[in-house]
Symmetry: D3
Subunit: 294 residues, 6 copies
């Protein structure tokens, strides 16, 4: 079962400029084909349906785009809901010129967003398939969405039941080895963690580590969360034993190559969350469009 | 062999607003981690290299982004060139705070763009693998890039040796069945093609068809190009025989499900170009980043 | 008779940012005069009418602008329709402060757009005045609209019955002599046309020529369209004889100095289309505005 | 003699977004023709010269645009200077791909701006041709530039020796009859002028009048400037006699149909300034471009 | 008594991009807290009231912002009206996710704007407290609003009964000593004033002066308005005597350190207007927000 | 002692569009006064110095703005450094027209930013005046900066030694009572905290409380940080006793009315950080500008 609609998720509407940008990249001056055929004024209807099984996504945003063009729109299925093949998602009526202007932009948006939402949901489902209680392990998606798509990609991640690992660099702390190389060599990681905590007492300190010994050292240095970069599952198991007695116990985040096939193993090994970029490379889901005179 | 650099391709520099938008989605207020560690002022160097085999892409754009942040940059490998694993692509120097701000945005841009360029190039190569002369069959990519990325995606398509099928709806003509349903039923396709040609004498008339009979009818109606939607190769063969004697002979474009594995078959069957969205779902190529004090 | 309204022409609504930009250049902080007189809250009505004979244009866009300011608006005459002197075009009601903010911006937009639409229509009419069948010769307007106005100018061209020659450089091919000077001298024009066709099989190849011999050579080199730059009519006649037997016969486009006075001669000589910048210098048509209390 | 360069005129550089907008409307993805011919990387030179007599304009802005594309540029003639036919204005060098991207946008900008500057200058010259001392009568251009071009148009007005009548509605006061109809009928114009002066003591009060009696009444009501809408010259003469003894004497601005042919008459009749929209409809001046390999 | 609502003041609606910018700086991806609690879909109501005595301001703009997010809104008190403590200003209903997204942005906007409006109004009131007739002395606010807030700040100034001294540098003339130092030393101020008047006959010439002698000299040189920078009140008194007999008498504007406590003294001394930046540093007024389920 | 320069703080350069927006609100068409005086081309120098004691701020941003206008600039004092009266901060040379365009915008930016930085620094200093070790108590500034200024305000906060409490609503969690009223009444706060933690394992859970009992309950419910809204110092003392034995002990953040006068009391009482909006209402610091011919 997939969670609720995007409005219930407290996401803001797409900015007017973003909708205009979507239209500008596809139809800056309308559909030339419609115009040369002289059919722009004919009334029509356009229905979007799921062609393959998917978590519907982008439906409300596609609706906003079609409304902007002048169509009358009904959202038939909320983003975030599981849509079996054939499910009607959206219905728009208006002049053929309007429908043809919005057709492919709306379809591509929905297909691409559903691809990410469905892939995210698959990892969420797989994470709990081994018996873990739903909601105890978070699936956090990275910043590696295609350039310029972060605002849209995050809506799809949330629709799929995932959360955002970090939205950007400016409000969260993640100490990479690439940060540590710039520290004064006399100062160790514990010094760095203390500095970070003093300057940012309201943020958790996440430290990326690449092997068990580093992880244990980071835990002792006071990291709140250990981000385990490309750890084999057996290393996670070993690490859990080593840190479980610490108080407070650091949380463990598995990252690097996590996907729907291997996530259950990491969950069983005891991580608190997984961090993944996999949904951003998921192929789009198919959304079928029927467009005809009214 | 992959073609030339993006400047030679006559592509404009990224607009200032696009570079600022890339930065704004990742580092609106700088890298908090750098700041709390107090390392922002340390001089450093950052080197991007190809980790796996790829057509390099986005290198000049990543350079522009890093320059905008205040780094000094050398482009070591042009976009559009084949880069074997280990090839250094880009080198940037500057304060650690600057390098950390640009690191992942530059890397994600290059990885994503190289994914599209490499996948496009694979189709281009496969298209000629059966003996076809390079350059006689064009690989045209569709409008189905992720939302908001068309300007960036097109640069990657060109870097990979492909061309754009249509940039948008406003300068090219493609008559879909979804257009024809709005025509006056007394008027046939020939009437529509004539109307289109009269109104847009400088554009080719492309007609999407879904079976051989439709294709032959469209050819007779005067279409310049037949876009063959999901034709099996054997139908292409049959169609070629039927239209080859027409003068002028319409060009044939295979579309729908074309990829590097099946493209050679279509080329052998006689199409003049293939139309594909496949590169947009290609996984990013890996770009390794080394970041260290100078 | 002038063609249909802009919505039937499949043109997108003006982007929100474009409307805001129109307002920002004239009333960034409202009408100071209204404010110092303290009359902003009085209800009023504002009626726009054609003062001289014109093809109405910009009416729907002016309406969108006035709605954005808070007025209630009726479009009384569609863009693209012939409006004799005195024809009411648009009616807006609202507080005097709102009407005064929008008055001149709406009026200037309509007057300027009607100037282009009317001038375009005059060329379209003249083109067929010699007996040519309407629709067989296209009037194509160039890219030479005033800077920043292309999106608006094109709407006016379409309203006047014209078409766009090229919207920009990125989707159409026009080989100028200024391109040819950069070719390898061993390669002739035929080589260039072949290269262009291979790389852009879905576009027509247009070649600009400046005399009959060049034109014949370009035709033999395979150009789809010959753009005849400043050809005297008698040269067009001579050229038609020379190329008429070619198969496929290239289309002929007359360009450079074409206007309503001389277009019929070119049409009679046998060109397939004319390319003109003349409408962009047409003086605005007069739109009268009556503004009074309600 | 035409005044100085635009930098000396204290005009700001074009905003980055405006330059990008100029490029985006013409070359969103580069020059396709250059790309398909494979000539983008050839070094070249492009020289802009005045073809007909003109006040050069837009030269620095065109230079900024070409620099933005990557060209190396020399400004050879400042905006605002008289350029006889053949005068070289601007020289750019760079790869052919870069030059072809900027060619027409730069040329159209310079031609359009020179059209306005030259026409403005013609009115300025004519205004003093009857013996008036240069600088004693200002030529003020209205807000009626083509939509979206005000920032560019004003630069051309200044280059031509004119001034801006009003940049917009928000910082100057001009009481139209269309304002007065909303006043309480018991309050006369004197009341309105007093109200305006109290609320805006740092602005002049301009009142539009349409006949001599209205003008005298407005003068007595305290208007600082009378804007004489479509007054015949003889009415101006009559008005001057009527108001010349008032202290302070209101200034007189002739507006409506003023152009280079009739301006001297108004000046001789005694107006202090003329207000005109005529330069905005002036045809562009010709700028010749030579583009060749280096 | 404070004047009327912002719509009666003839101010334009906030541009769509400005509203989106306000939201983008606070809730780019919605309220994470709402989302993790899963309460986004609960219907709720949000009521804004004045907590302390204030001139209400920003109410209509906050309403536009909440409508943009999807709330249903009632404006209960117009901007520009005096609101005693407890006055309900605005009521919004909608899903909790929507209300939480808009809460603080709307509140901060109203509090900040009310701070400026209330402080402006205090100066306006104090200016007339000594018996001066309301409306005879203008309170003009400077350009020194916080960066990027000028459009919003001006609305608050107007709501408080003030006027704008200058919106920017491009439509008004204020000669600073820093301008005069660049003049040719042989030319005196009178020359400068004459030059300014000739080039800008529709603008008043304001000259900043820093002592009585400079002021008298500027008056004799023809300045329309003397801007008295940091004049003690007694110097204003002395100056009034010196310039009162000039015809036309220049207006006097007191500037530099003017506030509600000292304004009456300047008014009594005879200035025509005061110029102040004080309201921009006023602390925000408190607006209380009640947010609960419906 | 105030910390380092903004580049060392890892803050990104101002976006090009933000600099253009700063200029557009003050000098959309240049300085009219400079132009009418004809002095725009004279070479000049402009020096900015601290007039009163301050933490310099906005210097690099003002420099970027002046460079954008065409000036040559030296930054003489880094943002974030203490500048005693008379300290030269910035030096710019260029034509008088350029200097006059940038003067007040640069000055207002620096004065306003220095106001915030200096006020922030005063709280930081006061926090440690009672003997607390610098860096052990963070001064966190709220989201209540004037509308649209957040990006600029944060730079000033950091320059003053403060940190951002939250940049926005989308990456941090702060449970207000206004969230809790929407929860299912059967679920208590502990349930809410658990839900939040499960969905956002990488974020701290901050809970706003308004009295000691609420605070203790929130601590027991698992809150990471208690935000103590308007707690008297003695209540903080009492609370510390109550929660000190909890493991992990929640952190305490004092909020509401904190300023330089009362902060030491809260620190002495044992809070881990203070949250304040006070710096945003600080009056600007004075920056003196000398502008003269070169």
């Amino acid at each position: 079962m997939v969670s609720s609609s995007s409005s219930a998720d407290g996401l803001p509407p797409l900015p007017a400029a973003l909708i205009d940008a979507l239209l500008a990249e596809d139809v800056p001056f309308g559909d030339l084909t419609t115009r040369v055929l002289g059919i722009g004024g004919q009334p029509g209807v356009m229905i979007f349906s799921a062609r393959d099984d998917q978590v519907a996504c982008g439906v409300e945003d596609a609706a906003a785009l079609l409304v902007r063009l002048g169509a009358t729109v009904d959202v038939l299925w909320s983003s975030g809901r599981h849509a079996p093949p054939g499910t009607p998602l959206l219905r728009a009526t208006g002049p053929a010129g309007v429908l043809h202007m919005g057709w492919k932009t709306a379809q591509t948006l929905m297909e691409w967003a559903a691809g990410i939402a469905t892939a995210t949901h698959a990892i969420v489902s797989a994470a709990t398939s081994g018996g873990a209680v739903a909601g105890t392990v978070a699936v956090a998606c990275t910043r590696k969405a295609p350039p310029l798509t972060r605002a849209l990609a995050m809506r799809a991640v949330v629709a799929g039941g995932g959360v955002m690992h970090r939205i950007g660099l400016s409000e969260t702390i993640l100490i990479f080895p690439e940060h540590l190389v710039f520290l004064n060599p006399r100062d160790g990681l514990a010094h760095a963690v203390r500095a970070a905590r003093g300057k940012a007492p309201e943020r958790r300190i996440v430290v990326e580590v690449t092997d068990v010994e580093q992880a244990v050292a980071a835990a002792r240095a006071g990291a709140d969360i250990l981000q385990l970069e490309k750890f084999p599952v057996e290393d996670v198991v070993r690490l859990v034993e080593r840190v479980m007695s610490l108080s407070p116990r650091p949380r463990l985040a598995a990252a690097g190559g996590i996907n729907a096939r291997n996530v259950a193993g990491y969950v069983a090994a005891g991580v608190d969350l997984v961090v993944t970029s996999a949904p951003y490379s998921a192929p789009p889901r198919d959304v079928q469009v029927e467009l005809r005179p009214l």
